[in-house]
Structures are given as C-alpha cells and as structure tokens.
Subunit: 356 residues, 2 copies
DNA sequence: GCCGGTGCTTGGAACGATCAAGGGGGACCG
DNA sequence: CGGTCCCCCTTGATCGTTCCAAGCACCGGC
C-alpha cells in the first residue's frame, strides 16, 4: 500500500524495502526500526528480535543517500590515484590500497577514488569536499611543495597523510609514515654483517626529502662502523638507466663491494650493470633495493629489498581517521613505522675476497 | 536568516551553501538554480549568467546526498579489489583502475572500492546494491565458475564485466575483453619472422579458459605455418618456479629456440633457467611474456611481452556502463580488443644457428 | 485510587536536492 | 481590446532516513 512502485511490474528491478516497510511488517514504527539498527540497546529484547527478523526477511538495508543526507556524512574516504609511472618498479600502491579498503570497511567506510587535474591539484579535493561527497581524505603523495596537505588543513578538512610533512614542522595534521632511514640502516647493517666495508649508495636528487631520509640511514650506519663513505654516494634520477650508469661509475672509481639503493628501480639498473660486466649479484657484488616490489620478488636472482609495512600503514591511517571523525583529538601528531629487510640472493655472503 | 548554523562560530567548519542560499543571493527560486546547474537551456541567458555568478561567488556545489536521494542514483561505480598476489608479476590493475577512474569522472561518476568476503563472494555486492550505494558494478575477475556475474544478472543489477563469460554463451550481459589468442598470435608470428621454427608454449592448467584462449593463438599460428607443436607445450601453475622448471624440461626434451608464455611471471621463470644455463635471452633463446608488466619493463634484458590495451578496456567499459545506465540497449553484447606486442631484447633475431 | 517516574514507542520535522504542476507577463492573433 | 499561447520562473510535494519532543503504558509507593 505504501509502496505503489513495487506493483509496476516484475520485469523492472524492484526498489528495495524502506524503513517504513520493515516497520509495518514488524508492527512497530519507523523510529523503532531505526533504533534496532543504530541503537539496539534502546529496544526491549523481544521487540528487537521481531524487528531483526523483519529486516532479515525483507533484506532491508538502510538507504545510504537518505542516511547521508540526514547525518551529514557519507561514510566515504577519498583517495586520489596518482598517475601510473611506467618503467619503474614501484607498484606497491595496490598492497596499500587493498588493506586500506579492507580496514576502512571494518570501520564502516568505503574508499572512493578520484583523479586530479595536473594543473590544479586541489580541484578534485575541492569538488568532493564542497559536495559533501566524502568525509575525509587520505593523502599519499606528500612530496615537498605539494599544496594538498596545506590546502586541506586550511579548509579544515579531515585528512590523514601517508608521509611526513617535510616542509615545515608547524603543519599539525595527523600523518603516518615509514622510517626510510631505519630501512637503509637495516640494509647497511646487514651488508656490514656480511663482511662488506665498501658499501655504496645510489639515491635520488638532493631535493627529495624522502631520498635524503633514506640516504641518512646509510650514511650514519657507515660512520657508526667507522667506514668511509668518500666517493661512495651517487644521486640520480629514479630510472633503471640512471641506476645502471651510476653503478658503472662507482665501480670504476671507488670499487665498492655492495650497493644500497633508494629504490628497486635503481637496484635493477645496478643489476643490469653487473650483468653486463659478468659480475654475479650476491657472490661478486651485493645489491639491496627499496620497496620489495614485484620485480624484487620475481627476478631470477632474488633482490634483497627493504619492505615497507604498507598494511600497518593502512591500519594506522584508518585508526587516525576514526579518531579524527569522532572528534577525539589524536594523541600524537604522527606515527612512524619501521620497515623490514627481505633478504634474498642478491646480498648473499661474499666468499673469500672480503676479509672477515 | 535561512542558515542559522552558519552563525555558530567561525572556528567550526562552515557548512557549505545550499541551493536556497544561492537562490536568495541571485534573487531567484531554488528550482531556477537547480535548472542552471542541470538544464541551463531552460534559463534566459541573463538569468543564467546571474545565477552562475552567484554559484561561483559562494562556491556552491550540489549536495550529493540530497541529489542522490531524490534521483535514486549515487553516481558511483563499484569495483571489487581482489587480493594482492605476491610473487607474481601481474600488477597491471592500477593501469586499468587509473583510466577507469579518469574516464568515469568524465561521465560524472566516481569509483568506489570494496572488498569481498572470501566465503561469500557476493556479500559485498549485495550490501552496496541494497543500500543503493552504487549505480553499477565493474566485475573484473570473471574466472570460470565465478558466481558474481550470474548473481548480478539475476538481481538485474547493472554491471559490465572485464572478461568474457566463459561458462555459457547464454549469459547476456555487457562485457569487454582482450583477445588473448590474438596476443599470442602476434608473439608467435613475431618469432616466426625472426626465423624460429621450434617455438614452445608455457601456459596454465587446462581449466583456465583464459590460458586456453592464449594457448590457442600459439597453436593455430604454428599450424598455419606448418610448424610442429609436438612436445613443445607445457601447462603449469602461474609461478616463477613452475615456469623455470617447465623451461628446463622443454629445453632438455624438445630443444626449442623460443618460448611464448601465458604470463610475464612464467617468462621470468624461463629467463631464470636460461641464466642458470648461461644462455643469453634474445641471442641464444627468445622469450616472450604476457602483460607487459613492470618486470618486463625494468628487467636488464628487456622482456618482449604482449601488452593489453587496458586503457581502451576502461574506456569501453565506461561507455557500456553509460548506455546501460541510460537504459539504451547496448548495441552488441561484448567488445573484444586486440593487444599489441612490445618487442624488447629478449626476442632479438637469432644469429646464425637458425636457418632463414 | 492517585501520582510520579521509567522505559519504550510515536508522530512531526528536517536534511537539500529534484519532480510535477501552477502562474505571470508579453507577443501575437483575431 | 480580449483571448490564447508560449516562455520563464515559482511553489508545493517528495525521496528515506534520523533527530526531537511528546505520548502512553506500566509499575511501585503512598
């Protein structure tokens, strides 16, 4: 009676039952059904059971649009997908995204993807924010000078960043990041344990704070062990070719026995150079990459690599989002997680040419 | 006057302007503003300009929840993210997802990610459908026996599949797929042109229709050229190790000079075996993979690989979704796209040991 | 038997947009 | 000059949910 449209014809998709339909069937009012869903404690056990059964029988699920309109939330978290970089090994985002989707589902949220204008990076955020399409954002590419975080903070929009605010410590927004220096420290310690003393670094250009962070882990570990780093560092673009060329120069000029790289992409370049020179990775020269990409995993000579705990990052981000959205002040500003080292053949112990 | 909440205080996030706010400022009614947004043709140019200016000044954007409630749409497309497979090279999904997000944005849609229960694969779909959270789905993993497509069809839920319906041709839902056989045909033709006559196949187990499709391209091309395929085919699991073992067996027993593989993962296994045997890929033995994964791109010896036109697939899927959602009957049931071959060093011309 | 409190339930209003129908004014025609 | 049409705009109703305040039954105490 209350839903004439359901009588239109069986060949059309039947519109789903509403709160009122369930209420009628259970013999209670709308609000009671709503309470059964959102505040079960308010109902007498008998009533609750009756309503629950009606919900079950009719396959009721609250209409999201109506709920969103009333509660002024969307239960959605916006995530900007960055352009795909071909020719690099860093495809770790799906690992992160998957856990993010799973974890936020547990918190009752879904993940909404969107792209950004290249010329106006905040346009996508602005649209979603103004149309109240998402409750919060997860910002992933917090490179230096990226205006997104600052803009979102200025808009008082809830968001959590994957990545530290590099530019100024005054930015007080929640963030989660992986300690890159700790990762390269692990890598360097591992190589020192294997008996290496001439360990080279191949990283990114100086204006990349992430690259400098990773470099610092190598540098301090070398110095802690009293090892020289003179002529053993190189800063290049993040491409296979650059990594290979840097490795060639370092091998010629400084004769390192091991390489620590800021990325698996660079490490692949090093492996290429070793291959050209008939040097066996792991036996002749050790190589360690960063990101534990699929390349590192399927390369014939398994590539030792620093693995970011992306699953934990996603969990922490969702945790921060929840306290942000429930207006509980976050206890600390940021969470810094420690990566692990996945040891494979490319960093096996050198045999006799290095003094133990 | 009409928005008392905006007076609460400047330290709270100001709630965005509504249709009524814009109407008041522009000196028109709500409906006129709505028309200015959705049906500009209905307005007199002068009025339209005035409303547009008010919209611009106030930074108005229609509240999505309200619009969704009224129009019974969500402008969202659901995409289930499948679990990440570690240790394989097939991370092509982000290429697809990115274009999907971009293209559907042009059509006014956003992409919503969700995960599925492993035990109840349709649970995620069911929830989103019943709560009218999404307008349609994109189904990606249409392996044999996957109940999702059939279930969605039974629910009369709008969806487009990436992948042909393998089980029964009677399934009449829109789909977009890549012609795997055409891809392996390209690969095989390419190798024949290089002078190869003993071209081996390493694929997946027989119960994989995708694998059988790809295998058929190799098989028919071989036969068309009058080449024998006896003892040159192998069916294994999709792992690096399996690929390597299969290559070793084939090399020992049938002495092929080239390999066509159903995936880059298998091709990596082949390259590993070649490396162990001191055989140079491209010079001694040619290898072709499938998917043009990042591994193929950054491997020191570039891996020739069949590249799926994932960007085109996404575009076609959005196109099909649009006609589906606008209730225009789709002209054809499915779209089959042709992949391309990316030639790299691993399939360079053999030198003298193969008769031209 | 009356009163007050407790605990569940109820109807009305609101969220902000679109749909359907109604109205005012000018142009055009008779 | 009156009627009709059309164009452009306005008004009231509605989508399905949650918030709010009031209603009502029940129980114990006096």
């Amino acid at each position: 009676m209350s839903r004439p449209e359901s009588r239109l014809g069986a060949h059309l998709p039947v519109s789903p039952p509403t709160l009122a339909d369930v209420a009628e069937r259970a013999g209670v009012s709308r609000q009671t059904v709503s309470n059964a869903v959102n505040n079960p404690d308010l109902l007498r056990p008998g009533t609750l059971e009756r309503v629950r059964q009606a919900i079950e029988e009719m396959g009721y699920s609250p209409n999201r649009a109506a709920r969103n309109l009333r509660t002024r939330t969307s239960q959605l978290i916006g995530l900007r997908v960055s352009p795909v970089q071909e020719g690099t090994a860093n495809a770790m985002m799906d690992r992160f995204v998957h856990t993010l989707v799973e974890t936020s589902a547990l918190a009752g949220h879904h993940v909404l993807l969107f792209t950004g204008d290249d010329e106006d990076p905040v346009a996508g955020y602005d649209n979603l924010l103004r149309s109240t399409a998402v409750d919060a954002f997860v910002v992933t590419d917090t490179y230096l000078g990226n205006p997104q975080a600052a803009w979102l903070a200025a808009q008082r929009a809830p968001f959590v960043a994957f990545g530290r605010p590099w530019d100024r410590a005054s930015a007080r927004h929640p963030w989660v990041d992986v300690d890159g220096a700790a990762g390269t420290r692990l890598a360097t310690e591992h190589l020192v344990e294997q008996g290496h003393t001439r360990i080279a670094w191949i990283g990114w250009r100086k204006d990349s704070p992430i690259g400098e962070d990773r470099r610092s882990g190598w540098l301090t570990t070398m110095h802690e062990h009293g090892l020289s780093t003179t002529g053993l560092a190189s800063r290049v673009e993040d491409t296979v070719q650059s990594g290979g060329e840097a490795a060639a120069v370092l091998l010629d000029e400084s004769a390192p026995t091991a390489f620590v790289c800021a990325s698996d992409t660079l490490a692949m370049g090093v492996l290429h150079t070793l291959w050209l020179r008939q040097l066996a990775p792991g036996r002749d020269i050790a190589v360690v990459g960063f990101d534990d990409s699929q390349v590192a995993q399927v390369y014939p000579v398994g590539l030792t690599s620093v693995r970011q705990p992306l699953e934990d990052v996603a969990v922490e981000i969702v945790r921060a989002l929840q306290s942000l959205l429930s207006h509980q002040p976050t206890p600390e500003d940021g969470v810094l997680l420690t990566p692990t080292l996945v040891v494979r053949e490319s960093s096996a112990r050198p045999e006799a040419d290095v003094p133990a």
